[in-house]
Structure formats: C-alpha cells, structure tokens
Amino acid sequence: MYSRHAQRITPGNKMASRKEGTGSTATSSSSTTGAAGKGKGKGGSGDSAVKQVQIDGLVVLKIIKHYQEEGQGTEVVQGVLLGLVVEDRLEITNCFPFPQHTEDDADFDEVQYQMEMMRSLRHVNIDHLHVGWYQSTYYGSFVTRALLDSQFSYQHAIEESVVLIYDPIKTAQGSLSLKAYRLTPKLMEVCKEKDFPEALKKANITFEYMFEEVPIVIKNSHLINVLMWELEKKSAVADKHELLSLASSNHLGKNLQLLMDRVDEMSQDIVKYNTYMRNTSKQQQQKHQYQQRRQQENMQRQSRGEPPLPEEDLSKLFKPPQPPARMDSLLIAGQINTYCQNIKEFTAQNLGKLFMAQALQEYNN
C-alpha cells in the first residue's frame, strides 16, 4: 500500500481530505456536477443513489489484466472506474489503472495523470465520468482505514461512486470474485463529523452497517457473448474445472492465519478498552471523593461562618483518560466479519465438493 496526499478542489466540498490508497481525485468540474446532479435527481433523498452496478466485460478483463501484470503477493493494484449513472443503475463502462509507484518517481503527479487520461479517453469517445475506483485484495483483507477514508472522500464528492474489490486468489480458483461496495449513509454521516468516538457512539453503528454491497451485473455485448460460446466449445475440459479442485488446505490455512491475526488485534483492543474503563472508573471515584471532601469542608466553614471555598474546575484537576479509537476496532470487527464470510463460503463450497467426490468414488467402486 502506498499513501499520498491530494488536495481536492471540487465544488460542494468544503474540506481537504487526506487520502490513502488512492489518488483519483481530480475530476473535471463539469462532470462532477453533472453526475451529482443526476444522482440526486434519480436517487431521491440520498438513501441509496445506486441500486445496481452494471459492469462491462471489458472492465472486468482490464482489472484482471492489471493485477496479472502488476500485482503480486500482498501488493494491491488500484485504478479508476469510468461510467455513468442511468436511473438507479451505475454503469461502469471503462477503467484505467493507477501506475505503480516506485521510489524514484516520487514527484509523479497523480492528478495530472488522471486528467490527462480522462481527456485522452474523451477524445476517443469513451465515457469519461469518474464513478469510483477499484482495488485488488489479498485474501479478502480490504476493510481498512485507508479504504474507508478514500471511499468516503469519493462518495463525498461523487455521490454514486463505488469501490470494486477484486479478489485475484479466489478468481484463480475458478470463480470470479468482484464485489462493489459503498459506505452506508449512516457511516457517511459519522465520517463527516470527524469525531469518531463520539459520533460512532451516537450513531450506534456496528460493523455490519459500515459497508453496503451493491449487486453487480456483468454485461457483455451480444457479439462478445457469441465469441464466448465459440471459445467455450474450443477450450479443453480441464480448464473449466478448476472449480472442482479439492486442494483447499492452503487457502483455508491462509485465511485462518489472517483471521487469527485480526483476532489478536481485537483482543488487544479489548484489553486497551478494559484499561481505559478501569482508569475512568478510578478517576470517577477520585472525583467523587474530592467533591465530597470539598462539600464537607464547606459545611464546616459555613458553620464557622467563613466563606465557602471557591469552585474549582474539576475537569482541570481530573483529566479524563484518552478513550481508545473506536473506528479501528470497528474496522477490525468488519474485517473479521469478512474473513468469516470468506471462510464460511469457502468451506461450504469445499464441503460440497468433497461430498461430490465421495459420491463419485462410491459410484466408481
């Protein structure tokens, strides 16, 4: 992961937000306003601007290709999605990748690059409206602060924007894994307030309500469909049955390992929270004692006819301990959730496969 800062200067956006993981910020002002206008017009009161995402086959292939070429291991690749909103459907018709950064071209201008790119695309008459971004993931570990931040700034500027998460490992196992996510309006509210602990408490939000998944439809032109049929006939049988592979241990092990790490973090967070709780209650007690003492003293003074002691600022005397960051644990919980989903999905599939294999074996015998 790499981080970069970018100033976002778009109308309707009051703050400059620090963004991590993506730099797709500059959109031509005309397109933004247009898109936003459309979104508002179609989506109504902002409950959910987009109900469905329709992706062109071309975009999927481009994303896959991008990862094949540049991503490896835990490294992720990112890019910009282009398209437009039609009614409550977001059509993603094209995309382009962010170039991979190396140390020596640190002065590379992201914004400039995107502008250039979109302008060039417009020249060849391709949709050039910025509607979101995509990112690859390593065993489904994408619920991070960076993703949250950048998706927030996207959604803040372009309401209908989505993030596409592409899981190359699952895809390699035979089933394409591409998911579109958006931040829930609740979370958007929270993020806007910027005061996470308080806002989160108020919003009463849990990890389940952080992201909403938008259903995806992959749409190909008829010509492509025809070609696909052609190809299917020609391809060897083995190619099609990666899905049936019984080798599951590696993937599962990896997932478990990651899950364990997250659980460890969670434990730490809880321990942190525990100490925080202890500290606050201790302080409360002290505060209470202090007040009582004060009161007693004042009573005595009163009886002696002396003026009461002046009131002191208690908050100065007792500084409340720093509460632990809630957002982080929330994200971890979300991540754990994702892992669990993954594992569940995976094991369910595998079990099915195993039963199939068993049945097959019995049949053969």
Binding site: K201, N204, T206, L246, S248, S249, L252, G253, L256, Q257, L259, M260, V263, D264, M266, S267, I270, V271, Y273, N274, M277, R278, S281, A333, I336, N337, C340, I343, K344, T347, L351, L354, A357, Q358
Partner: protein, 944 residues
C-alpha cells in the same frame, strides 16, 4: 670543592678511578659525535662591539649550536631546518669567508652532521622507532648534506691536511683531537652545586680544564700520568703547566676560538687548579661511561633538585655531592663498582662511626622526603640502595638491611605517581631482584621477625640477643608486585614480542610467590597464609597442566620409564596443588572474598581439566550463583570466566544442555567481551566518562588469561543448534513454542536475510549452514560444515583433546539429526525400519532403538515400536496444519471472549446501554465464528 678534596682518601680513589679509565677509554670514542660548544657561545653573547666578521660568525655559531642541540635530542627535523638556515647564513657571510677563509667551526659542523646522520642511518633499530617526520627529515637532510659537502670537499681536504700538520701529536688525527675537546666541553652539565654560586668562575674553570684535557688527549698523555704530575707539582707549577697548555691550544684552534680560550685561561683561578685533577678524572670518566648527554642533563637537574631539598642539612649535602659523583656517570652501571668504595665515607661525615642509630636516622631522613612534592623518586631509591650497601659493609646486621630493603621496594612501587602507569621494565627487574634478595635474607635468618603489626618503637634491629623484629609486610609487597605484574601485562601489546618477554617474568613471579608461601607457612598467621595461597591459586588456576594430562594418558608402566621422564614428571600435579591450597582456604579463611575467589578458581581449574562433575558440584554447593551479584566487579569477572569455562567443559563432555545453560547468560547479553574483562565495548564509550573508563581498564584481564571468544561463541552456537533444531522440528506448528536460544535464532535470521548465499566463511556462517542441513536431517552435510579445515583451525584445535571433542560432536550431530528427521518427516511415513535409520545416520541399531524409545516415552513421537520387524509404526495422530491452526484460533477466540466478558462486567450499570448492545453483538459474533471454525476443521478432518 676544596674541602672535599683535602680528605685523605680522595687522591687514592681518584687515581684508582683514572687508572681504570685508561683501560676503557676507547669506548668513549663514539660519544664525541655529540659535542657541546656551550662555552664559546655563551661567551659570544656577552660581546657588545663586534666586527662584521664577528657578527656573521656569531650568526653561524648560533645556528650551529641549535643544530647540535637538535642532534642531541635526535630531532632530525629541527636539524634539517637549521641546516638550511645555516646554508643561507653562510651564503651571506660569503664575502667574509672569502677574505678570512672558511671558518673551521663551519667545516666541523658539516663533518659532524654527516657523521651523525650516517650513524643514524646505520642504526636500523633507531630508525624504526623514529617518528615519520623525523625519518623523512633524516633522508632529506642526509642527501642535502652529501651534496653540500661535495662542494666543500676540496676545502675540507685542504683544511684537514693543514690541521694534521699543525697538530703537535702526529699520531692522533685532528678530528679525534677536537672531538675530545668537545667531550670535555660538555662538562658544565656536571657542575658541582657548591661551585655553581660563582657561575662565571666555574665556566672559566671548565674552559681551562677542557683545554687542558684536550691537550692531554692530543699529546697522548694519559689521565693517570697527568694526575701524578699534578700531585707532585706545587700549585705554581701546575698553573704554569696550564698556561702552557693553553698556549698550545691557541695554536691549534682557529682564530675565532682563540678569544674564548684566552679569556678562559686567563681568568682561571686557583680553585680550578685544585679541582682540575678531579675534573679531568671526571672528564675521562665521561669518555668511558656517559652514553648520552641527555642523561647528564637529567642528572644535573636531579642534582639541582637535590640541592634545593637538602641544603639545610649539612650531612645530606655531603651525601648529595657524593650522589652527584655517582650520577655523573650513568648511575646504574656505577652502582656496584668503584664509586662505592669512594663514596662510602661521604655518606656520613668523615670519621663518623657507622652505627645503627646513624643509619636509621639517615633512613628516616630519606623517608621523610617520601611523598613530598619535588622529591626525586629515582634519587631516593638510589640513596636507599647506597644505604643498604653501607649497612652491609659495616656489618650492621640483617635487621637493618631487611628494614632498608623493605623501604627500597616500597619506593620502587612509589616510583610511578599514578595508578594507571605501569612500572618500567628496569624498575620491575630491580623490584624482583630486591624481593628475591629480601627473601634470601629472611630464609637465611630465621630469627628475624617481620610483621606489619610491629611498631616502629618496638622494632629490634640490632640487638642480637633477642630475635630481630622488623616492621614491614612481605605479603603486601608480594601482592603489590603481583598487581604491578598484572599492570605491566595489561599495558603491553599482547601481540608483540615484548609481551612474550614480559610473560617470561611470570615464572619469576610464581617463584617468588612460592618462596613467600613457604616462608609464611612457617611464620605467618593463617590469614596471611590464606592470602598467599590465593595468590598462588590465581597464578595456577588458568594454566592447563600438560604434564599431568600426559601422565593420565600414559599410565605408569613400571620401571620402563626413563629417568628423564620421571624428572619431568616430578613436581606436584596442579590439581593436587589446587586441592590442597583451596581446602586450606575453605577451612581457614574468614574473609568471604578470598574463599569465593578460591572456589571460583578451583572450579575453573576443574573445568579446564575436564573434571566436569567435580566442577559442577562445587559450583552448585557453593551457592555462588545466588549471591554473586553482590560481589565486587573483579570477582564477578572471575565468576563469569568460571561459568564460561564450565560451559566449555560441559561441551567437551558432550553435555550440550549444560553447556548451553552455562553459557546462556554470558552470550545472550552480547557483551561477552566486557563481561569476561577481555576488552571494552566501543559502543558504551560515550556513555562512560574518563574516570570510569580508567577503572574499567584496570579491571581487564591480561591477555594470557583470555578465553577465546570465538571458541566460546562457537561452543554456544553449536550447543544451541543441537538443542534447538530438533525442538523446532518437534514444535513446528506450535504457536506457543519458545525459543531456546535467542542468539541462535538471531544468527539464523541473519543467514536468511542474506540475498546471496555463498559458501560459509566465518564460524557463525558455518554453524548456520550446518543448522540448515540439520533441519533437513542431513547429518553428513551438517557434519562437514561443523568439522572441517576452517573450523578446526578456528575453533576445535583450541581444545586440549581436540579429537575426542570432534568424535563426540559427530555422534551428537548424528543423534540430533535422527531426531530432527523423525520429527520432520514422521507424517510422511506409515512405518519406518530402524535398520534403514541406522544406515542413514550411521548409528548402530541399539542407539537408534534407544533414541526412538526415548522419543516415544517422552511423547514427542506418536509411534510404537514393532519388535519382530524392527520397525517404527507411526500412529498418525498428530493434527494437520489446518487443525493446528483451528485449535490455535479457538484458543485465541477463547481469550478474546474472556476479555470481552470482562468488559461486559465492567459496563454493567456504569455505562450507557448503547455500547452494551454493541459489545453483546460482538460477543455473539465471535461465538458464531468460533463455531464456524470448529465445524470447518472437524469437516476437514474426514477426507484425505
């Protein structure tokens, strides 16, 4: 002066002196190359009205003087500078030179300089010692002067020839002549302090004496004959004689010199005549003895100091004079020789009866000066030594001599003002000799009682009826000597020949300690005996007893042994010796420190000689491990050394685990060097100040006691490897496995981080490579990495029984590789034949059987042995990787839930209900995950 020359014994001693000198005269020849033209120059500066010639020549002479001074102190760089200036000055004076001819002194300096440089050039030793600048200047100057002199050659020849003809004594070359004169001229530095009141007169005297002496040499008249003449002749005659000589001198000398000599001769007074005999004697003595004028200067300085110090005391003044006489030559050589005969009477007033009281009084006088500022320590030692001689000559009895000797040794120790500096070798030699002599006396006279508790008042130094009692502690002296020895060793470069030389003294030190030990065994208190025993122990414990070792290897074969062998084998086994000494200390010692040290040394000695069990038991029984942190740093260092030796010993015995445990503390700190007192860490240099550093430096163990750090590290790493690799293999997937050795893991990681893995170079790389091989169960590769040429040279050959250690090591590697193999690959096998294993690891069947049985019993290996077929049948009950992970996860989740519940408890009532829901939800979720994982893993178990 006159006072002292009127004493009767004077002339005799003088003549005997000069008589001796005659024989040794030629030796002094080389000295003449460093003359001192002091008198002329000083005379010159007084002049006010000068001609151009004078001015130029003065310039030249001044430069020449500087050159000569530089030559004296061997400052070649200075010489070079001055020589260049001289060349320029000569150029300026060219017009005068043309008129007057080349001045003789100029040629003289050129010739001198060339001689001097050649001498320096030849002196390879000296050249090596010279610093770089000087060496460079030397070669430059040498070349320059050669070139310069070539130009001058013609003139020089001419002059040379002239001189030859001019000189009266044809047999003696002119150069020799003037050289002699130079020598005499250097006399002022040996002035008599009494005379120095009248500086001018003195100078004149010297001049005259110088000239006379010169003449004497030129004429080939020996000092002895001259002396005789003088004693016969009345004063008037001698004066005439002097005059005559001066005249001769004027003839022979150059014009510019004439004036000087003139004034010198005319102003010489009667004093000089009386003195001249002595002076000439001195002069000739110079020829013989003084090696460098520097020495004289020093001596002169010393004298001046002495004078200031002792002016008040007439007696001591005399002593002083005599001292000067003594030091006029090089004092060291003079000590035992003739001067003593002469000086004896001067130590005390003439005719004074030398009694105990007088000597003791003198001794106290000398001692009072001790420690005072401005006291010359060297002179003091000298005085004390003289006093001993006097006492011995006058048969004052051993008591006095012992007393003085004590004081001499004490002054020798005092010689160095601060603790950090160490004794000079000659001082050290003297000190050893002195102690030896003292011991001789003490052994020869059993009736002398020595002790520090004897008060000054109750001393009995001379009453022969009662036993002699002397204050002083021989033990303290020896302990101090030992300290000094350590200091010398610490301050010597351990890789130099010098160190070896110093180390040779160790035998002497040991011998002295042994003698003192014998002495104290008879006379000392138990406490003293304990102390000297400890000293003995400290000089014994670290030495490997090769003889005893040899004896062990070859058990006595009756009478077949040759005589020589027996002679060699005589002497106590160091083990027996240590046992005896230590037991005594254990029983008798009342100070904790000595006992602690003794125990540690004993353990060390045991460990060094591979008596592991004795060493270990002693270590455990002493309970030193519990309270060593309260000991002082040197003892702690000793403790560390002992532990390390113990570890190495355990390793040699094949007890890897014990070895590892013993070495763990030292090695894990990463400061082994510092902990063993074998060097300071650079890292902490800035943390400590100067003072601390000095203290630490003093704690360092001398090099010959060092334990090889590489050996130590290797032993540690190899034992760690033998322990850790099987352990790692056994607990591959155990999340909670702990590292046995952090350092070993660190090395492994370093090895892994290497981008390109070449063949191992260093010891560490070898061990890492071997570990990797062992991890795969490949014992042969492992073996070849651990034991090969390189490692033999670096490590294994350092052991006394290298081959035994190597055999042990091979066997260990085989065994541990077998274990590792079984741990790693047991999941692949259903069953495996033990015979195959025994073939694979080249171990015999029973060993394999026992190893596997042990593993099964310890529940490390889930298998059973099938006796009839000699196979190991695996049970395959070990969880798979996923199952392991799932178990770990379940565990983690358990703890998470626990934590969560604690939070929940906390919250009840105190916090808002909103977060309660939140937490509860989370809690439910984790439970659900737990269940999911559990089902997943249980399902996964079924299929294969």
């Amino acid at each position: 002066m006159s006072r002292f020359f009127t004493t009767g014994s004077d002339s005799e001693s003088e003549s005997s002196l000069s008589g001796e000198e005659l024989v040794t005269k030629p030796v002094g020849g080389n000295y003449g190359k460093q003359p001192l033209l002091l008198s002329e120059d000083e005379e010159d500066t007084k002049r006010v009205v000068r001609s151009a010639k004078d001015k130029r020549f003065e310039e030249l002479t001044n430069l020449i003087r500087t050159i000569r001074n530089a030559m004296k102190i061997r400052d070649v760089t200075k010489c070079l500078e001055e020589f260049e200036l001289l060349g320029k000055a000569y150029g300026k004076a060219k017009s005068i030179v043309d008129k007057e001819g080349v001045p003789r002194f100029y040629i003289r300096i050129l010739a001198d300089l060339e001689d001097y440089l050649n001498e320096l050039w030849e002196d390879k030793e000296g050249k090596k010692k010279m610093n770089k600048n000087n060496a460079k200047a030397l070669s430059t100057l040498r070349q320059k002067i050669r070139k310069y002199n070539r130009d001058f050659e013609l003139e020089a020849h001419l002059l040379n020839w002239e001189c030859m003809t001019e000189l009266s004594g044809g047999g003696v070359g002119w150069t020799d002549g003037w050289r002699a004169s130079m020598i005499v001229l250097s006399l002022p530095s040996v002035q008599n302090p009494e005379q120095s009141a009248d500086e001018d007169a003195e100078k004149n005297e010297e001049d005259s004496e110088g000239s006379s002496d010169e003449d004497e040499d030129e004429d080939g008249v020996s000092a002895a004959t001259f002396l005789k003449k003088k004693s016969e002749a009345p004063s008037g005659e001698s004066r005439k004689f002097l005059k005559k000589m001066d005249d001769e001198d004027e003839d022979s000398e150059d014009s510019e010199d004439d004036e000087d000599w003139d004034t010198g001769s005319t102003s010489s007074d009667s004093d000089s005549e009386e003195e001249e005999g002595k002076q000439t004697a001195l002069a000739s003595r110079f020829l013989k003895k003084a090696p460098t004028t520097d020495e004289d200067k020093k001596a002169a300085e010393k004298k001046r100091e002495d004078k200031a110090k002792k002016k008040h005391d007439r007696k001591s003044k005399r002593l002083d004079e005599e001292e000067e006489d003594n030091e006029g030559g090089e004092w060291e050589r003079v000590r035992g020789g003739v001067p003593l005969v002469k000086e004896k009477p001067k130590m005390f007033a003439k005719g004074t009866e030398i009694t105990h009281a007088v000597v003791i009084k003198k001794l106290n006088e000398i001692l009072q000066a001790r420690g005072k500022k401005g006291t010359d320590r060297a002179a003091q030692i000298e005085l004390l030594q003289l006093l001993v001689q006097i006492a011995a000559e006058n048969n004052l009895g051993e008591g006095v001599i012992v007393k003085i000797k004590f004081n001499i040794i004490a002054s020798l120790y005092d010689y160095n003002p601060n603790l950090a500096t160490y004794m000079k070798p000659e001082m050290w030699g003297k000190c050893l000799d002195c102690i030896n002599e003292l011991m001789d006396i003490l052994f020869a006279n059993p009736n002398i009682f020595v002790g520090e508790n004897i008060l000054e008042e109750s001393e009995n130094l001379h009453n022969a009826d009662q036993p002699l009692r002397v204050r002083g502690c021989i033990l303290t002296l020896v302990e101090r000597m030992d300290e000094e020895f350590t200091k010398i060793m610490q301050n010597t470069d351990p890789h130099s020949q010098e160190y070896v030389e110093h180390l040779k003294d160790e035998a002497q030190v040991c011998a002295i300690i042994e003698r003192v030990q014998r002495y104290l065994e008879e006379k000392g208190t138990t406490e003293e005996v304990c102390r000297i025993y400890l000293l003995r122990i400290l000089h014994t414990y670290y030495k490997f007893d090769y003889k005893a070792h040899q004896r062990q290897l070859t058990p006595p074969e009756g009478s077949s042994k040759s005589e020589q062998d027996q002679a060699e084998n005589e002497g106590e086994d160091s083990a027996v010796l240590m046992e005896r000494l230590c037991k005594y200390i254990y029983a008798k010692d009342r100070t904790d420190r000595i006992r602690t040290c003794a125990i540690l040394c004993h353990i060390y000695h045991h460990a060094l000689h591979s008596r592991w069990y004795q060493a270990r038991d002693l270590m455990l029984m002493s309970h030193l491990q519990d309270n060593i942190q309260h000991a002082d740093p040197p003892v702690q260092i000793l403790y560390n050394r002992t532990m390390v030796q113990l570890g190495i010993c355990a390793f040699r015995q094949g007890l890897t685990k014990d070895a590892h445990n013993a070495l763990l503390d030292i090695q894990s700190s990463g400061r082994a060097k510092e902990l063993l007192g074998q060097g300071l860490l650079l890292r902490s240099l800035q943390e400590r100040n100067q003072e601390q550093e000095k203290v630490e430096r003093r704690r360092q163990v001398p090099f010959h006691l060092h334990i090889n750090l590489e050996l130590l590290e290797c032993v540690y790493l190899v034992s760690a490897m033998l322990l850790e690799i099987p352990y790692m293999a056994a607990h591959e997937s155990d999340a909670r496995r702990r590292m046995i050795s952090k350092q070993f893991h660190h090395q492994l990681r370093v090895g892994e981080r290497q981008p390109l893995l070449g063949p191992p170079e260093s010891m560490r790389e070898h061990v890492v490579a071997a570990s990797k091989a062992m991890k795969m169960g490949d014992w042969k590769t492992c073996h070849s990495f651990i034991i090969n040429e390189k490692m033999n040279g670096k490590v294994w050959d350092l052991f006394p029984e290298a081959d035994k250690v190597r055999t042990m090591l091979v066997r260990k590697i085989q065994e541990e590789s077998l274990r590792t193999y079984l741990f790693t690959y047991s999941s692949v096998y259903d069953s495996i034949s033990m015979e195959t294993l025994s073939d694979m690891f080249e171990l015999d069947l029973p060993t394999v059987h026992s190893i596997i049985s042990k593993m099964i019993i310890n529940e490390e290996l889930m298998a059973s042995l099938d006796q009839p077929t000699q196979t190991v049948v695996m049970h395959r009950t070990e969880p798979t990787a996923q199952q392991n992970l799932a178990l770990q996860l379940a565990e983690k989740l358990g703890s998470l839930v626990e934590n969560n519940e604690r939070v929940f408890d906390h919250k009840q009532g105190t916090y808002g209900a909103t977060s309660e829901v939140n937490q509860k939800d989370g809690y439910r979720k984790t439970r659900a995950t737990c269940a999911a994982v559990a089902t997943a893993s249980s399902h996964l178990k079924q299929p294969t």
